[in-house]
């Protein structure tokens, strides 16, 4: 049974992460995906589905928050109300949605072509003018997309065509649009409501009927949605349940239909009848991040000692509480064509780690370190094990827990840590963008600096074929193996726990659901 569980878990991870393997052409206009995902039977019009969320929507303004495609955030609801110009699918391919295409010859000048006949729910056209209005508005003060929007100069050619000129060539501009500028609101509504923009007007599959931040949102089917026959559901609800255990109980009991979490958090309910799991294909890394800017981890030997001290299997099993879980030491999953086993980092060699620590101590380098862990149970467990493993090889280790809400300020802003456990998983979706962020961009918490790595991720961003991408990331992995700015110890994936009466699951980005494809299997069409 144990091996069956383990192999089932690994198959699930690897099958899901096969997305990375294809790595389609970055600027291609792939045909829009169909409604895949789990579920069986013909899709039927009608019914209502309730999705559980951990928190409310604070604002419907598309510029209000950074648009992360992680499930459970406000962007789930944005996608339902606004639809998306483009999205990145779980195979890391850019897929046009409300747009027909976004093309370029030189990565600096791009042409956006919209699908014809789309209108906002207030009757105004979803056209090139609307996109330009929204993108120009995103350059305003307080906009979360100001950085990207400020690089754009756009000109309306005709109703459906927008010519875009960037301040500098950006090979992943389409991916950036898919993750940051994909939600287009009605300019008329934005102007009319001004600062009191509390009644969003989009062209997405659903119309917002009611919004109570303490309770959730209720949406109804948009009869004028541009995809004929979609959405299938008559009603879509998002309900806010703050307590994680209660979210699971509510879905298990049938009080709601869908929730998302990490697989390990749902182990206890997996065997219950009437419940199914839908895995988000992209998956992500579990890792310990080292502060490369301060001693002792500004010395690669200290980082190597940490890697050798860590037992990835134990770390992962302690974190997930799943005794059959397996650790991981590569930068990509095994099934990915970006993965090369020769670049796995060495781990679980305490003797070698001890020798390195003694060498450092002998040179007078202080090996007293602090682990900063967000105060969530799984990270505290992992932090305590890490403390034990590092102490065993000679580090003098303190473990400090900080509230989850304070972790970002402490680690990202104050940079006051030696080692920290990355909360959650680092998503591998959209690898050319995500890996760039991890090593040289906004997610470079480790403060890692390497011109060689900068060049390598830049080459990866500019790759235009799967082979080029694989070769580029081979270089990235090789440099990572040598420099070890952070230590990968596991893989994980987000999953959707849902009742078996809901089907049509298709996730995009880092896991958001395409709710227009959801349907109920327990109703019959009249």
């Amino acid at each position: 049974m144990a091996s069956t569980k383990k192999s089932r878990r690994m198959r699930s991870i690897l099958a899901g992460a096969a997305a990375i393997a294809t790595a389609a052409a970055l600027a291609a206009c792939a045909p829009e995906g169909g409604s895949g995902g789990s579920g069986s039977g013909e899709a039927v019009q009608g019914g209502s589905v309730t999705i559980v969320s951990a928190g409310p929507v604070a604002s419907w303004d598309p510029t209000a928050a950074l648009q992360q495609t992680i499930p459970g955030l406000a962007t789930d609801r944005f996608l339902a109300v606004y639809g998306a110009l483009l999205y990145v699918d779980t195979q890391s391919a850019v897929v046009p949605h409300m747009a027909e295409s976004l093309e370029t010859e030189d990565f600096q000048d791009w042409t956006l072509t919209l699908n014809p006949g789309i209108t906002f729910s207030d009757g105004t056209p979803y056209d090139a003018e609307a996109v330009k209005y929204n993108w120009d508005r995103a350059t305003g003060e307080g906009s979360a997309q100001k950085g990207l929007a400020s690089t754009i100069t756009s000109e309306v050619v005709d109703e459906l065509t927008l010519e875009i000129s960037l301040t500098a060539p950006n090979p992943v501009f389409d991916r950036d649009v898919a993750e940051q500028l994909q939600f287009i609101a009605s300019p008329a509504a934005l102007e009319e409501q001004g600062e009191d923009y509390t009644s969003p007007v989009g062209a997405g599959p659903f119309l917002l009927q009611s919004w109570d931040p303490a309770v959730g949102e209720t949406m109804t089917r948009n009869p004028d949605y541009f995809r004929e026959g979609r959405p299938y559901l008559d009603e879509l609800k998002f309900t806010v349940i703050a307590d994680p255990a209660q979210r699971v109980t509510t879905v298990a009991q049938g009080g709601a239909d869908i929730m998302n979490n990490y697989r390990f958090a749902l182990l206890e309910v997996l065997e219950q009848p009437g419940l199914e799991l839908f895995g988000v294909a992209s998956g992500g890394l579990r890792m310990a991040v080292l502060n490369n800017a301060t001693a002792p981890f500004n010395d690669v030997r200290a980082r190597e000692a940490v890697a050798l001290a860590i037992n990835p299997d134990e770390m992962t099993q302690t974190l997930t509480q799943d005794p059959d879980d397996a650790g991981w030491s590569g930068l990509f999953p095994e099934s990915s064509n970006l993965y090369d086993a020769q670049y796995d980092i060495e781990s679980n060699d305490p003797d070698a780690a001890k020798a390195l620590v003694e060498e450092l101590a002998g040179e007078g380098i202080d090996t007293t370190i602090s682990i900063v862990a967000a105060a969530v149970p799984e990270l505290v467990r992992a932090g305590e094990l890490l403390q034990i493993q590092l102490s065993a090889v000679g580090f003098d280790v303190q473990l400090e827990q900080v509230p989850l809400g304070d972790w970002s300020a402490r680690v990202r802003v104050q940079k006051d840590f030696d080692i920290t456990l990355y909360p959650g998983i680092f998503d591998l979706n959209n690898a050319p963008v995500s890996m760039n962020n991890l090593f040289v961009g906004t997610e470079n918490i480790a403060q890692y600096q390497s011109d060689e790595m900068l060049e390598a991720v830049t080459v990866a961003r500019e790759a235009t074929s799967a082979d080029e991408l694989a070769k580029a990331f081979g270089t990235v992995a090789k440099i990572y193996q040598r420099d070890l700015p952070f230590i990968v110890f596991g893989l994980d994936e987000r999953v959707y726990l849902h009742g078996d009466a809901v089907a049509g699951f298709e996730s995009i980005g880092r896991g958001m659901l395409l709710t227009e494809n959801l349907y109920r299997t327990d109703i019959t069409e009249e």
Partner: protein, 319 residues
Amino acid sequence: MTAVAKAVGIRLAYGIPVFFIVTFAMALLVEFMPGSPGQAILGENAAPDAVAALNERYGYNLPPLERYGNWLAGVARLDLGTTLFTREPVVDVLGRRLLVTLEVAGLALGMALIVSVPLALVAAFRQGGWLDRILNVVSSAMLSVPSFVSVVLVSLIFTVSLKAFPATGWVPIASGGLAENLRFAFLPALALALYETAFFYRIVRSDLVATLREDFVLVARAKGIPKWRTIAPRHVLRPSLTSLVTLLGLAVGRLLGGAVIVEFFFSIPGLGGESIAAVGIKDMNMLQGIIALGVVVYVLIFILVDLAYAWIDPRVSVR
């Protein structure tokens, strides 16, 4: 002016400085937010213009006294401002939330009274008996369980094991009917009622035992007046309720506070849940409104408690 009206007026007058002190203290708390309230709300990376605009919109750039004065002027018009993101009038949101919290708290109080008072009566009349001893132990155990534990226990038993009640959520009477509303309200009310039941039981039993020793009770029993039909409710219970009445007032306050945990756990859209949400997004208008409402509720409750004394025990007069 009747004595009652005068007494009410005096107590209301006492409540006014309490209202000012508490709400002004709440307003001053804003001054202690790092940077400015706008900065705290929008985050460290917010653009300075956006921070300044928010501070101006909500008056956080004004001196605290002036800001408080403006707020008081709004209170006089029953205008407590608007919520931070949804821009709804705070008064409207408070009204909706208060109804939910009052229903849950009311149900909890009702459950506690229905169970505790009869049991206390029986235990007091059979003082020292096996029932008295058992209830003593059980009530001690229930008093030891704080609300954040009772919610989990109640949920474990009734939701996970028995699957008898929904885990979370709320259905208003207007949309789902009374039966459906009570189905969602039962568990939260039960979680709150556990502690109150034990507390009321102990206090009422203690008062009943003392009353049973009074001469007039002995006389009533000697005259052969029916014990359970007459002596218990009229001669013994009524004079023993003064402590309970006081505790009821305190219990309402405790229930409102405990309701925060219960509402969070059961995802109920009451005042407690709204408080947590408001703290999370630093909605100062909403928090100020909740605090103000709390002060008003407490003052009114204790006025009612004092009036209830006089009604229960004619020996007590309201002055």
